[in-house]
Amino acid sequence: MELNIQPILPEIFICAMACVILVLDLYLKPERRTIAYVLTVMTLLVAAGLYWQDFATGSAVYLNGMFIKDRFSDVVKIAICLLSLLVFVYSREYIKARDLFLSEYFVLGLFAVLGMMVMVSAGHFLALYLGLELLSLSLYAMVAFQRDSSVATEAAMKYFVLGALGSAMLLYGMSIIYGLTGSLDISVVRGIVAAQAAPDNVILVLGLVFILVSLAFKIGAVPFHMWVPDVYHGAPTSSTLFVSTAPKLAGFAIIIRLLVGGLEDLHFMWRDMLIVLAVLSMLLGNLIAIAQTNLKRMLAYSAISHMGFMLLGILAGTPNGYSAGLFYGLVYTFMGLGGFGIVVLLSRAGYEADELDDLRGLNQSHPWYAFLILIFMFSMAGVPPTLGFFAKLSVIQAVIDVELTWLAVIAVLFTVIGAFYYLRVIKLVYFDPPAVAAREISATADLRVLLSANAVALVLLLPMVGPIQEMCTQAIASVVGAF
């Protein structure tokens, strides 16, 4: 048997660089640790370049069906590389100020990225599960990284216990499907499931339910969302940034791989289950976010409601719906990055700017940053001249296309409810008197420039919406068309 490692070269590169940084750290003086940081950022940049240079044209399967390389995987992987890169740049000063600027932090981050790459390309239950565990283990450690903080430790503990429960559910579901089909290869499973897909096949229903529950755990959809607010709030904001962005895309990717790639013939079953998850997520996320006084918790509940929206695209069950979901995921992760980026920007050593009151009257001292907050909040609320609006629009269109108009109406209603707490932030920033007299922002130039670019891109990329959606459509077509 010949082993072709050419397609997994970028993954091998990331893994090798993580090991190099780990060893290099032994010989680095603490004041020279910036080298580890620069290497990490370069690694992610080069990996994104490798994916870009070897961009897939069709869909191919390698390593005995365990590794799928198609347009979808490459699009999502490039996005994951860029998101993680931005996360590290955003959080550099933050972790320096809190004595977390250790090479292990970057190594864990790189391994988490590796896990996400494996998940995105998984064509086999084993590879998918191992990728998920690699990601989760790294994330647990990153959340607990501030070991002197009891809040962070508690958050990590909750994340770990519930994450382990989610993984167990996934394994249980996979083993039931395996028991029925006798194969762990997702494309083989697809063939056998297609032949046996009947509403009265209780074995398939039970396996599907377990898999869906674990997926909902991992992306944080109601009623499996309990860990999200506590983890986002308790973790150091640098880790929150990481947890809340790229892993959501990876979660979307495994939903596509499992539900669309493997169990699409059960669409009539999982559609209703996803409707329940999506409606509950939008309802609970938006309503509870209103009651929050902490910015990080508010953004956590907003993340839950956004995940509900992303599920809307998937449950439509059409290529259009999936690509709308992918577009939503891409836009949301960049918005979420900006939202938590603001918290990082306003924080200083020994001071967390994570209460809503900390934002009061920001416009008077820092009009530009107030403007950035305005863009992020408008985009999350889905106010027109931003990408957030088009993301919501395309998802709702996909839902209407499959004649679920009532669901579209509910989604719009909850968006209006959600607009309240986003607009409240803007009101605090622009119309309230400042809480503290003079607020200094000690952010470095790269953070200021990139965060500004991040916000401005949400508006300036509008002419590009067509091409981006086209890219998403082609990416999804490479998954759906592969069968």
Partner: protein, 209 residues
């Protein structure tokens, strides 16, 4: 009933009994010992299924290494069970409801006929001299080499995470640094001072003492 079947039912009964004791017994050390029994009976069940290598590995790794460490931890940490049981009654109704539902669901699935003998015919037994260790090794290093390497990376992450979260340098402990001890030079420790000789006043008393 053949001997294999008899052995299977015997060890399966022991396994279920031991597993039930693990979660229901009050003493954590006894619970850990029942877990050892559960692992051992599971290994015996695997042997009846002709998976000898896996059975031996289960005994060696889990019973031999993991459970011993587990017992050490249980004995060293003074776990207050009374506090851990607080709120147990409070969560019992909903937890029990979910447990009953799960058991019912699984019973429905198992009795649905999807796992009967017609779907899964009895596999052919292996000929004498068949080495499942060799087969396993061949599969792991060829067809499953990708997941195998991924598992290795996961272990590396576990090591990195454990060290990053627990290693702390305490300046107040008095520890030896062999590297510094070896590289120390005479000049670092010893200072040769030149000073004029002094004349001792009373030589005789020192000599007598």
């Amino acid at each position: 009933m053949t001997f294999t079947q008899l052995a299977f039912y015997f060890f399966a009964t022991v396994l279920i009994f031991a597993a039930a004791m693990v979660v229901s017994i009050r003493n954590p050390v006894k619970a850990a010992l029942f877990l050892v029994l559960a692992f051992f009976s599971a290994a015996c069940v695997w042997i009846t299924l002709e998976a000898e290598f896996l059975a031996i590995v289960l005994v060696l790794v889990y019973v031999g290494a993991v459970m011993v460490l587990f017992l050490f931890v249980v004995m060293m940490l003074d776990i207050n069970l009374a506090r851990m049981r607080e709120g147990f009654g409070e969560y019992l109704p909903i937890g029990g409801l979910i447990a009953v539902l799960m058991v019912l669901e699984i019973a429905i699935v198992l009795t649905s006929g999807g796992f009967g003998e017609e779907q899964f015919p009895r596999p052919e037994g292996h000929p004498a001299g068949f080495s499942d260790t060799k087969e396993l090794g061949r599969l792991i290093y060829t067809a499953y080499v990708y997941p195998f390497e991924l598992a290795a990376v996961i272990l590396l992450v576990a090591i990195v995470a454990a060290i990053a979260l627990t290693l702390r340098k305490r300046p107040d402990t008095k520890y030896l640094d062999p590297a510094r001890q070896v590289t120390v030079k005479k000049a670092d420790r010893l200072r040769v001072v030149k000073m004029p000789a002094e004349k001792r006043a009373d030589r005789t008393t020192e000599g007598e003492a």
